[in-house]
């Protein structure tokens, strides 16, 4: 990444955290920690790492079109926000749909979603769902059931290999998904079929719904486990744009590439540190606490 690119990514990351904080305050709760730990990686992906098709102007999310089915001709996926599906362009698959709010904020910061998009968040009849689905902005596979999106992305990557397309398939994974059996089936499949057109970013923030992962169910050493399954693994600091971006620039070598982004669940919002070990969903305990976050937002330095 050039200095200019790092600057741009840093600005977008700050914007993601700020928007999600603002939204959490308005809604009196939200998936704030996910935005803190992933904002830098998402910003780096969208501003510099991925080659997505352009979006001519920020898209205003359409209303929920009804569930998919043979009679629903109006159904759409949120893939439009990631640009056209053309052979030369990359794809982006968000696996943990609980990161939806962070992704929506990222789409706004990178000019892909209209600023008003978040007004539809978690509203009845809206496609901007709280735990996103395939019709939600930036998403295009069924991703809420953890562990399934990686396999679906592997299917897409295999299809792109068969069609000899140059574009790659990026997947954003959460560390908790390394506890799921299907994830390891998917890595086994990806290395067997030499899907080196796949680049997987894992947000290793070390926490899950019940608390600290090493107490709930340890996944470490994640890197050597993934290497044993045939992946090309890199460890990056979750707030270091250059470390996050560098592996994606390497020439493919038959192995799927994994970047373990060791992140902090309260990166950029130190106030939240006191919530440890419960970061999954931010709820303000009292007015005083809410006030301190309101003050943080008011004095936000990007």
């Amino acid at each position: 990444m050039t200095t200019e690119e790092v600057k741009k990514a840093r600005q977008a990351a700050s914007g993601i955290r700020k928007r999600v904080l603002a939204h959490t305050l308005i809604n009196n709760g939200g998936y704030l920690s996910q935005a803190c730990s992933s904002a830098d990686a998402l910003a780096a992906l969208y501003t510099s790492i991925m080659k997505l098709g352009p979006v001519p102007e920020p898209i205003v999310p359409k209303p929920f079109p009804g569930v998919p089915g043979p009679l629903n001709k109006d159904y759409f996926t949120g893939g439009d926000f990631n640009g056209a599906h053309l052979p030369q362009y990359d794809r982006f698959i968000l696996s943990p749909a609980h990161y939806a709010l962070a992704l929506y904020a990222c789409l706004i910061e990178t000019g892909r979603m209209d600023e008003t998009g978040l007004d539809y968040f978690n509203r009845d009849g809206s496609s901007v769902e709280m735990i996103g689905s395939e019709h939600s902005p930036g998403m295009e596979v069924t991703n809420g059931s953890l562990g399934q999106a990686l396999s679906q992305a592997a299917g897409i990557a295999l299809a792109r290999k068969l069609k000899k397309e140059a574009g790659r398939v990026f997947v954003f994974l959460s560390d908790g998904e390394l506890q799921i059996g299907q994830t390891w089936e998917a890595f086994q499949f990806m290395s067997h079929w030499k899907l080196d057109n796949m680049i997987i970013y894992v947000d290793v923030n070390g926490y899950q719904c019940d608390g600290k992962m090493e107490n709930v169910m340890n996944i470490e050493p994640a890197g050597s486990r993934l290497e044993a399954f045939g992946a090309r693994v890199f460890r990056a600091r979750g707030n270091d744009f250059e470390e996050l971006a560098a592996p994606a620039g390497l020439a493919p070598d038959t192995r799927p590439t994994v970047i373990l982004s060791y992140s902090c669940p309260y990166e950029g919002i130190e106030l939240m540190k006191q919530n440890a070990p419960k970061f999954h969903y931010m709820r303000f305990k009292n007015e005083e606490e809410k006030k301190s976050y309101t003050e943080l937002l008011r004095t936000w330095k990007s």
């Binding site: 998919p68 596979v141 069924t142 399934q148 592997a154 295999l158 069609k163 299907q182 086994q188």
Partner: protein, 335 residues
Amino acid sequence: MEILSRVHARNLTEWAKDNPQVLVMSADLTSSTEIDIFRGAYPSRFISCGIAEQNMLSAAAGLAREGFIPFIHTFAVFIYRRAFDQLAMSIAYSNLPVKLFGFLPGITTPGGATHQATDDIALVRALPNMTIFEPGDATEIESILGPVMDVDGPVYIRMLRGDVPRLFDKKDPFKKGVNRVLSRGSDLTVISSGLCSEEAIKAVKALKAKGLSIAHFHVSTLKPFNPKDILDSIASSKHGAITMENHTVMGGLGSIVADAMAGAGSGKKLYKLGLQDKFGHGASKGYLMREYGFDAMALVLKAEEITGAKFGITGEDLKTVKIEIMHGDIKAEDL
């Protein structure tokens, strides 16, 4: 009666020639699910997934999104029991054109409860967007792939393998939503599916020879079920209806017919032959059909019970029943 061997194996390979978007996916059961000839003919269209069905189903969804038509082949239990969440969320929810060939329906294997798909229809039927086909003979296996492709969405095919009889005329191919009328009559309506249809044909023939007037339908599209002709027949049947299925009576063909009868306000009685809320176990097909009460003799006994008549039909009688090729959609005047 003609018995054919490995019908799907040859048919799929031949048919696939003109359907290049079709990929076959296997979970380490390639010859057991009759896709070994396909693998030999089209190695680049054969996706080996290993014993990892959850990934196989979700990956199939990804391939389908990119324009391929994945044909998943494995034992049925590993599709709907092992990977039900993936079937529901990766495939059915999104209405993707993934075609799932589930082998070893009901008690067709001595592999025991772990291998016997005795509750697949009940579970798969509950998923929106799913279509369910169950072929009953070689003719239907040979002609099912076109209709499978014509469905805009996922299809679950309850597939037969190995030696399969030809019950239906080659000129009467499988048609989606068309029930085969194998007999018309006014005492009783019999509705059968899958391999039970062969048993039912034998019993119906023996009972008709004894003077009972029986209507017999073979159902091979279980979802969406087309009830029209069957309901009309039940309405005019003196003793109501008997369903006969290689599946638990909870949620399968019997329940499908019951739903339709209740919806139509039918006042007739329904008797369901099949597994009576029980798991299977490891034994031969004939033994298990007898034990669980859905072979030809079970139908004869049920007919006796509900009509109050004694027909004196023996197991020997049923063994010697000669099955001629059945013509589907027979007209009343032909009978």
